[in-house]
């Protein structure tokens, strides 16, 4: 006997009477006409009667068949399924719906695993004994179903949609088990709707100390056959030559994928998106293949998108990554303490940090103070004065003019600094007064600089800095003393570091964060604050952006939402995300991606299932009964409907 997912539509079978009623009504409405030669009409009717009567009966039957098929198709019958669970009385069921990304895999009828499982579960719910109660929860969050009637549960199930997150079934099942133990009926069970993908059970459900295991009914949709191809990696980073290095990786899950065509689109700066490469990769079964390619992109913030040919799980066939390609500033470093041995030079560590092709890759020239003139300053974005004793009046005026026009200036102190000169002539440039030299017995530790953790760095000696009123302290020691003060002079920005840029007074240059620190300082000086590019984050991840104030999160659909005060966001969409300030400047960007684990559709075996569920849950579904709902026939019914309608149309036209 078939069972029906939407039995209410069976009332539609009453519509079969409609053609008959219409026929009778139509007959009554035809006006009667007196016609003396009616015996001729009767004879004419007799001569065409057999075929006509046959046509009329056939048309009536076909029209009734159309309505019958329509009602049956809408009622969605299933054949061969197990429509009920074994229960002697009312039961309480706690539905656990796995709506993770892998449940979005589509079969040949374009039905997702979640749809198939929901239909089967609806079937099971429709066969529950009277008085049964059902509640539900989905792994991806969303609205929970409190204890309700089975009919309400069917409606709730119909509203479930496949999410983009990864399923972590263990904790959800533990909670479900606890809820079931407090269920309003003695016969209470957990019903799990899941594809039982292995990655969903990395954490087993707890409940070993709870005594008797709770029965678990399993509604598992049949697996989708085929190989799932996915984008398992997409990175983009600036190359020393100014181009963007894009690394893409394609994986095959469940078998050989053959040739997997891919298309890479890149956008950067003011340049619109453009397809930069099309090719294919052939990852082996369960393996990945990657390709790295340099792409010429305009400097600025941008994004890349890799798209594969769509398969039965489309969500993981596309991935984004964001990048920021900065125009390289041209620097002039003035060594105030030149040495014959390079190792002893004030700028030894700077040279290595700025060296092109090795570290930051800035274009930098190193000179002594005697070489500082108009020519040497031409075309520079920033100047670094390292441990300079003093500047002559001419050079000071020249430097001041250039700073006022927008040149960045970083001044680091050292043992050659003449304090009086810094607080005298140079004071018009500097944002702080250079005060006493600090040399505590124990080294001081700087506080974090933005997101750069400096807790392992040590500062042995520094000049106390007394910031000007309009100056900003950008780096402090842990006791609160300013270590770097920044201020504006005209259009330019000047930063004063209270310690050296070599290892004489601190070990900052040998700390792992030195490059990031230096990069951040120079970026601020040239007023080219970087967009902070975060690693792609799977949907559902909570990101601590460390940003507050008046900022907005802009999603892939260009919808803006206010960034919370704590600066934490949960990634909800696939694609490019940006954090903008009130002026529309992007400060942070990242891409929302699918969790790579969800691309692996490998299932737990029945032998592995008890271990994955833990001792608190016991599967009661008969082994091998993976498809509880049986075979859906409504597509066949709809196809028959179309055929019968076509036949009816043909006969009706011929009869006319």
């Amino acid at each position: 006997m078939p069972t029906f997912l939407a039995p209410a539509f069976l009332f539609g079978l009453l519509a079969v009477a409609v053609p008959v009623i219409l026929h009778l009504l139509f007959r009554r409405r035809v006006p009667v006409l007196d016609f003396p030669l009616m015996h001729l009409i009767e004879r004419a009717e007799r001569s065409r009667q057999p075929r006509r009567r046959l046509n009329r009966v056939l048309l009536l039957l076909l029209r009734m068949a159309i309505l019958t098929l329509l009602a049956l198709a809408l009622a969605r019958p299933l054949f061969g399924g197990r429509a009920t669970l074994t229960a002697s009385g009312p039961v309480a069921l706690r539905l656990v719906v796995d709506d993770s990304l892998s449940m979005g895999a589509k079969d040949e009828d374009a039905r997702t695993r979640l749809e198939v499982a929901s239909e089967e579960a609806s079937l099971l719910l429709s066969g529950l004994p009277p008085g049964s109660r059902v509640s539900g929860v989905s792994t991806g969050g969303g609205q929970e179903l409190p204890w309700s009637s089975p009919e309400e549960a069917v409606e709730w199930l119909a509203q479930r949609e496949v999410g983009l997150t990864r399923a972590l079934l263990g904790p959800v099942l533990s909670d479900a088990r606890r809820d079931v133990l407090e269920a309003p009926l003695p016969d209470a069970r957990v019903v799990l709707l899941s594809d039982l993908a292995r990655h969903g059970f990395e954490e087993a459900a707890s409940g070993a100390d709870a005594g008797e295991p709770v029965p678990l009914e399993l509604v598992q949709p049949p697996p989708v056959s085929g190989v799932n191809r996915s984008v398992s990696g997409l990175d983009a980073e600036p190359l020393p030559d100014g181009r963007l290095g894009v690394t893409l990786r394609v994986s095959a899950w469940g078998g050989e994928a053959g040739e997997v065509p891919w298309t890479l689109t890149v956008a950067g700066g003011d340049e619109p998106p453009r397809v930069v490469a099309r090719s294919s990769l052939s990852p082996g079964a369960g393996a990945s293949k990657q390709r790295r390619l340099p792409v010429a992109v305009e400097p600025g913030h941008g994004w890349s998108e890799l798209v594969l040919e769509e398969d039965f799980l489309p969500a993981d066939d596309r991935r984004h990554v964001t990048h920021h390609l900065r125009a390289r500033p041209r620097l002039l470093v003035v060594d105030g303490d030149p040495q014959n041995l390079s190792f002893g030079a004030e700028t030894f560590y700077l040279e290595r940090a700025l060296a092109p092709g090795v570290a930051l890759g800035y274009e930098a020239d190193f000179i002594t103070v005697a070489e500082l003139d108009e020519d040497s300053l031409a075309g520079r974005d920033a100047v670094l004065l390292c441990n300079l004793p003093e500047l002559g009046q001419d050079r000071l005026r020249l430097l001041q003019d250039r700073v006022e026009q927008g040149l960045g200036l970083l001044v680091s102190l050292g043992d050659r600094v003449v304090q009086a000169a810094y607080n005298g002539g140079l004071a018009s440039l500097l944002p702080a007064t250079v005060s006493v030299l600090q040399e505590p017995p124990a080294p001081a530790v700087p506080r974090p600089y933005g997101r750069v953790d400096l807790s392992r760095a040590k500062v042995h000696r520094w000049h106390q800095l007394l910031p000007d009123d309009d100056a900003q302290v950008t780096l402090r020691l842990f006791d609160g003393q300013p270590l770097m003060v920044e201020g504006r002079v005209g259009q330019g920005r000047v930063a004063l570091l209270g310690t050296t840029l070599d290892r004489d007074w601190n070990d900052l240059p040998i700390s792992p964060q030195f490059l990031g620190l230096l990069d951040g300082w120079i970026s601020r000086l040239v007023d080219a604050t970087d967009v902070e590019v975060l690693d792609p984050a799977p949907v559902g991840t909570r990101l601590e952006l460390g940003l507050g104030g008046d900022r907005w999160l802009v999603g892939p659909d260009d919808q803006r939402s206010k960034l919370p005060e704590d600066g934490a966001v949960v990634v909800e969409q696939l694609g490019r995300h940006r954090v903008m300030d009130a002026d529309g400047r992007v400060s942070v960007s990242f891409a929302g991606i699918t969790d790579p684990a969800e691309s692996d559709l490998a299932r737990l075996s029945s032998a592995e299932l008890p271990g994955a569920l833990g001792p608190g849950l016991a599967v009661v579904t008969p082994e091998g009964d993976e498809s509880r709902g049986g075979r859906p026939t409504w597509p066949l019914l709809l196809a028959s409907l179309v055929l019968v309608a076509a036949l009816e149309s043909y006969i009706a036209r011929r009869a006319a």
Binding site: F26, R27, V30, P31, V32, L33, D34, F35, P36, L37, M38, H39, L40, I41, E42, R43, A44, E45, S47, R48, R52, A655, A656
Partner: protein, 306 residues
Amino acid sequence: MKPGTEEHRVALHQELSALPLSARRLAAGLLSGLHRSVQRGGSAEFAEHVEYAAGDDPRNLDWRASARRDRLLIRRFEETTHRRAQLLLDASASMAFQRRDRPSKLDLARTVLGALATLLLRQGDAVGVSVLRRDEASDHVPSKSRGAHLAALLARLDKVTPRGKTDLGRALDTVGARLPRRSLILLASDLIDDGDRLGAALRRLHARGHDLVVVQVLEEDELRFPFVGSRRFRDPETGEVVTSDATAVAEHYREELQRFLTDCDATCATARAERVLLSTGEDPGPALVSWLAQRQALARRLVAAA
């Protein structure tokens, strides 16, 4: 002018009366010519002289005129034979059938019979009327030849109300029994009846020496069958109803109609009755004139043959 009205009827009378002399002769010939060979005697009125030709009756030679003109001349006469004619009107319910603004079949039949009565009375024939209803002839108006008799005839025709079913065969038999001598019988009917019984009755009338003319009147829609879609048809005589897809059945109907008309023709032919088919959708004047012309030609051929 609406067909079937009194105005139309008067107009038709005038049309037939205004026929050219030859046509009026044709009408006269119609009403007497066929019987010249079987009914001799009666008075003759001189009409003209014509030159003698081989085959002419030598008794008609006008010797005096021949002597004056020095050639053989034959006298020709206007025959003024007084005939008895009986007009029969079918009063079955089917004769009331009327569509749109056309006259009913009964109206058309009354018009035609009235026109022919006018002609007959003008040439001095005695004309009577009988109405055929159910299985008998009733509402008789005796045959008289006075011109004032026309009003009585027309009044009788106008009073006829169609109803019920008429058994034409039996009704004609009662007519045959009533008519004492050979007469001209003019029957106006749609001939919707049992063809065999009707044929037998006509043959019996013919056997008694009556001269038979059948004017079959049918409604235009009966001939054309212009209906489309699903329709319900009711037989006005029996009340029986049939639902039919008119569009689908039209072709078959026309075949059956043709068969019906052919049968009517055959039925009349076996009784030597002349049949004229008139439609309510057409002006009966031209049709009658055409028929009269054919009949005159036939009469001449018969005379010539005699």
